[in-house]
Symmetry: C2
Subunit: 82 residues, 2 copies
DNA sequence: TTCATACTTGCCATATTTGACAAATATGAA
DNA sequence: TTCATATTTGTCAAATATGGCAAGTATGAA
């Protein structure tokens, strides 16, 4: 299991979120509207772009809005050997 | 998929980490020793107890030390319908 | 009991996330 | 081109995660 740099992890997490969001046909605004606790497209954008190291609770809220398990957002694997 | 409170999420994440750590026979000190970037048993403890809302990068570092995929730590599901 | 090990908690300083708003940018339609 | 929608980025304040150390607690062995 190769260790990745912080920036790589954040980028992958962000790409996961964006990919799932687009697959579901949501805009960032849609997403924000579905999240109970307040969140902002500012933050969605920053997380999707890998510019911020989101907390697990924020990612959980996003996973709820995307209607996928949190673990799907946190899937950072390509091909690896554990 | 039921929405959980922040404290519940953090508790589950923490329990996952502690369970995996104990399964592997690691102490918190062992864990800290395996993590490249500095981390402290203080923080491991806080995260395991659900007292802190860890960032995804911190959880990634822990997953590396535990030699499990990040998604395993982020598995917050029991029985649910997505 | 004492001792050792493991873990928890309190406190502090620093860094960063988050939420909020405004402005800038990108894209596509008309 | 203009217009509308979507996304990105800058800045700010407030909240909080992190790292570090010290002290407290728990457990079991001797």
């Amino acid at each position: 299991m190769a260790s990745m740099k912080r920036s790589e992890i954040l980028k992958i997490i962000g790409q996961n979120i964006k990919r799932i969001r687009l697959e579901k046909g949501f805009t960032q605004v849609d997403l924000v509207g579905k999240i109970e606790a307040r969140i902002d497209t500012t933050n969605i954008s920053r997380i999707e772009k890998g510019r911020t190291n989101a907390t697990i609770h924020t990612l959980y809220k996003i996973s709820q809005a995307l209607e996928v398990p949190l673990s799907e957002i946190c899937d950072v694997y390509f091909s690896e050997s554990v």
